[in-house]
């Protein structure tokens, strides 16, 4: 029996359609030649580009809906896990978030943390993932972070190890700073389960004042309830909810004096079975535009962000 080769996670920083095709084309056709299952989450234009190159071979590919997969961004790992559950064969995935260049800084930071955490998932799966990044339109810091969060870089179809790659846990720790709540933040002490309803009332009134729609408000209410429930069940007093405006988003910032999740990386990956500890934060990631978590000397801070307008 041959050993299972762990999955890989590669980035392609491209400057033109030709550069894109020169790497994505061979990545896909090599997968097809080897009998891998291939899934694409790319734009319709890129799909056409690839079709002209591959012709009839395109029929063997599975096309995902990138609009669904990245709303919110953290959903993408749920889609990948669902895909792996359906497909027994080794898998290749080309995943490019088209919206990234239009995202706010808060979301882009979150996406890069998701990219880092996804290594944990891919390493224990039989999936090879290629993430193309538009090097013309994305800022330099984002491209630097791509080199640090992907184990391999593709250039002209050739793969090499990324020298800048860092351990995912370290990358996430370095990119998880949550500032103190502003003095103007609304503060609420959540000391018992009886306070949860009041906390939701507070969030709901701020969501309405900021014009969040029903779906976004529902997501935020569920997310805040999950995080406060975690704080009540696993954290320690004082437990506080702060609500305030953070740039383009409404922030619900939960602080408790506990140690936080044992494995922050696990909070990005869909739970298999019932690992209760990390489920609440994972759920919040599926419900809000961005989720930040950091543990420091003051305890654990989790911040849920919902974009306004």
């Amino acid at each position: 029996m041959s050993a299972v080769v762990p999955g890989t996670h590669s980035a392609l920083l491209y400057h033109s359609d030709e550069e894109w095709l020169a790497s994505v084309g061979p990545f896909v056709s090599e997968g097809l030649t080897r009998g891998d299952h291939v899934l694409l989450m790319i734009s319709p234009e890129q799909h056409d580009l690839l079709s002209r190159e591959l012709g009839a071979d395109m029929a063997g590919l599975e096309i995902g809906d990138p609009d669904v997969a990245y709303r919110p961004q953290a959903r993408v790992l749920r889609e990948v896990v669902g895909f792996l559950g359906r497909v027994q064969a080794r898998t290749r995935l080309v995943a490019e978030q088209q919206l990234l260049a239009a995202r706010t800084d808060l979301e882009v930071s979150d996406y890069l943390r998701i990219e880092a955490a996804s290594n944990v998932l891919f390493e224990r799966s039989t999936i090879d993932v290629l993430c193309p990044y538009d090097a013309v339109h994305l800022p330099g810091e984002v491209l630097d972070s791509c080199r640090r969060t992907h184990g391999h870089l593709l250039e002209s179809g050739r793969s090499c190890a990324s020298p800048a790659y860092v351990d995912p846990a370290r990358f996430i720790a370095q990119h998880s700073f949550i500032p103190d709540p502003p003095a103007s933040a609304v503060t609420f002490n959540c000391d018992s389960p009886q306070d949860l309803g009041t906390a939701r009332g507070l969030v709901e009134s701020h969501a309405a004042a900021h014009g969040l729609d029903v779906a976004a408000t529902t997501g935020l209410l569920l997310g805040v309830t999950e995080i406060l429930t975690n704080a009540l069940e696993h954290g320690s007093a004082p437990r506080r909810l702060y609500v305030y405006r953070e740039g383009p988003a409404l922030a619900c910032h939960v602080h408790d004096s506990g140690l936080g999740p044992a494995d922050p990386l696990a909070t990005y990956v869909p739970p298999d079975g019932d690992p209760r500890e990390s489920r609440g934060i994972w759920l919040a990631r599926q419900l809000c535009d961005a989720v930040e978590i950091t543990t420091n000397l003051t305890g654990t801070h989790v911040r849920l962000l919902a974009l306004v307008g």
Binding site: Q194, L196, V214, T218, L222, E226, T229, E233, G280
Partner: protein, 283 residues
């Protein structure tokens, strides 16, 4: 005074007392106790005279969550005239205690979480004729309630009993009953047709156990249970997970129907759970 009990979190077997100075006070205490009991899916036995029952009806109508007639129709609220219950005072106290214990079992077999009793005791006290016999009864009731899990409030007219008797009665109870009810986060009200439960309010860590207990009590009688969720304004992931688990554990002929659930529930199911055949959404 004994500590004032929190009616929303009443431990089983609580034996409360309340002394009233006028009919309005009688009605307020009874209404708070009855409403809290109905909200947890318990069967409530209200032993009182007609005018007190009318007062309860009016107070329930004012709260606007449950009305007296539908609670009675569902078998959740049972009204009894005090004279009929207490008889002439020659009643054997052990027989009476056994009868209440039996009512408790009957409440559980009928799909309720527990039995709670609100009783206007003054006629009983007068029928018994002596303070000693009354105290003997209250002592026996405490023991019976601890064993059977029945909670109660015993209401006494402080104008008609001597002060010293009131003080002695007080120590035979575990607490005193409040004259007002802080609105519970949710009401779990039994329904007969269709068989199930009507949920009004919000469910989260605070009261998920109560919801589950109420649903389980209905399932124990008939495993096809309809949970009317039209007035459920919020439910969290934990409570939803427990409902899903409960549905998965129902017998083969059982189904948990979630009727007109709020958007938040559909959102949770889409995210986190495989639908089990024991669970059905009715929209």
């Amino acid at each position: 005074m004994r500590p004032v009990a929190d009616l929303s979190r009443l431990s089983p077997g609580s034996h409360l007392c309340a002394f009233y100075g006028d009919d309005e006070e009688l009605s307020r205490v009874a209404t708070a106790f009855v409403t809290a009991g109905l909200a947890t899916g318990a069967r409530v036995l209200y032993v009182a005279a007609d005018h007190a029952v009318r007062g309860l009806g009016a107070a329930l109508a004012l709260r606007g969550v449950v009305d007296l007639d539908s609670a009675v129709d569902a078998g959740q609220l049972v009204l009894r005239d005090s004279a009929a219950v207490y008889g002439t005072g020659e009643t054997d106290l052990a027989t009476l205690a056994a009868a209440i214990g039996a009512e408790s079992g009957e409440a559980r077999r009928s799909g309720f979480t527990a039995l709670r009793v609100a009783a206007e005791m003054t006629p009983f006290a007068e029928a018994l004729g002596s303070a000693e016999r009354l105290l003997q009864w209250e002592r026996a009731a405490s023991r019976m309630q601890q064993q059977s899990g029945v909670s109660s409030v015993c209401q006494y007219d402080e104008r008609r009993l001597p002060q010293q008797d009131l003080r002695r009665l007080e120590v035979e109870h575990t607490g005193s009953a409040p004259a007002a009810l802080t609105s519970p986060a949710a009401h779990f009200l039994a329904t007969r047709e269709p068989w199930g439960l009507r949920v009004v309010g919000q469910v989260d860590l605070e009261n998920a156990d109560e919801l589950l207990a109420a649903v389980r009590a209905r399932c124990a009688v008939d495993p096809r249970v309809f949970v009317d969720m039209r007035e459920l304004t919020f439910i969290d992931v934990g409570a939803t997970r427990e409902l899903v688990a409960l549905a998965a554990g129902l017998p083969a002929d059982g189904t948990l129907f979630l009727v007109r659930p709020p958007a938040v529930l559909a959102r949770i199911l889409d995210l986190a759970f495989v639908r089990h055949q024991g669970l059905e959404l009715v929209t």
